[in-house]
Symmetry: C2
Subunit: 240 residues, 2 copies
């Protein structure tokens, strides 16, 4: 069965967390909106009000008869299908819990450049963005990275967030580090030293054969100023 | 087995979504932080860095040996245990998808009064709050309520979001309506007319015996200016 991923074609965004899972698992999938006529197909599904499971927003995944929305929900499904989450109930819940904490971080990262409304341009909310980004880089990134650092540091010799095997939460934390490095290089240069386990996890994920191949392929969209993580120098931490 | 719910004792907040599920299911549970010494017990668990599954923030639930964090994750667990979600994979994913959409709405509702940082007082971000709240009441509440209205309207004769049986997503949508009514009474007075199925669902949930008894009990904390939904008249829509 070929999966159909539906997401905005010019950005990594939330769709990237699904792409990473599909790539790591070596699945057969098509990134629909990046192909010819794909945006129309995506918009049609988004507007399909009478479908059994109406969609709120991309990303969503078609898997045979299933049409699944919400990033963490898609990953819950893929994790169980492709060995990207533990089989035990406790393990599955734990990975979902980690993913939802990543989801919280993503909202905050996005809102550094859109603190007033996603429907307004960045240029229309610059002073507010500056205030929000300062709190984000000073308080929130350290809180989140400190949390994941602790999970990894107290896992004993376990290499991953949920133990000895990779889960989709590890792929997501890799992507968080990638995104934060792009958006806040100055803040991250200082913070990475304090979070060595997180950096090591990032490197371990990047080195996995399927992920390494994906990152070098044209399927990996470059970071840019339209996505969730954006680099506006005025929002980054000042170097001392 | 007695569940232990851990959440801030003075507010409904995100803990309320768990309380509603525990109440509807008629479970035996204790709201730990509201009892003597409970706050200390909660803080101790939050600080327990070397636990198997470290916690990021309340609410969290102890269920025997399990310690589960993140609201939607707790509900995923309770839904399966207590018949508050369909048994089929498609149905479980659908209810989780709905709950994650509710979670997105909650972040936005909270950020109307804290658009810059949760660590700052409302008084330190009032102009920004006003701008954000205007977009929220004009664009975002209609988008979310319109989505849920459509789900309910196209469900045929089905009374609930996931069909003929109540799920935890219905309890959550009830609570969303309660919260929005408290925080934005003027905006909601206008919007409710356009979303009759959502209002009907709210009323249907409120009339369920366990929920009705809970709402009248001292276990239900009143809305106030410390929670997720806050009533600041200056953030509500202007009446025409």
């Amino acid at each position: 069965m070929r999966y159909e991923l539906y997401y905005w074609p010019q950005i990594q965004g939330r769709g990237e967390f699904v792409r990473l899972a599909l790539e790591e698992a070596g699945t057969d999938y098509v990134d629909v909106a990046r192909g010819s006529g794909g945006m129309e197909r995506m918009q049609k599904l988004l507007r399909a009000k009478s479908s059994e499971y109406p969609l709120f927003a991309p990303p969503f995944l078609r898997a045979g008869k299933l049409l699944i929305g919400q990033t963490a929900n898609i990953l819950l499904f893929l994790g169980a299908r492709h060995g990207l989450a533990p089989k035990s109930e406790a393990g599955r819940l734990w990975v979902n819990q980690l993913q939802l904490t990543v989801a919280d971080l993503l909202v905050e990262a996005h809102d550094t450049h859109h603190p007033i409304a996603a429907s307004l341009y960045y240029e229309d909310q610059k002073p507010e963005a500056r205030r929000r980004a300062e709190c984000f880089t000073k308080e929130r990134i350290p809180k989140y990275l400190g949390y994941f650092e602790n999970v990894l540091a107290h896992g004993g010799k376990a290499a991953f967030l949920a133990g000895r095997s990779l889960s989709y939460a590890d792929l997501s934390l890799f992507q968080v580090v990638e995104g934060l490095r792009y958006a806040f290089p100055s803040a991250m240069a200082a913070l990475e030293k304090k979070h060595p386990h997180v950096v090591k996890l990032h490197d371990r994920v990047a080195a996995r054969p399927n992920i390494a191949a994906y990152l070098k392929s044209p399927r990996r969209i470059a970071f840019n100023q339209h996505g969730l993580f954006r680099h506006y120098p005025e929002l980054d931490a000042k170097t001392a």
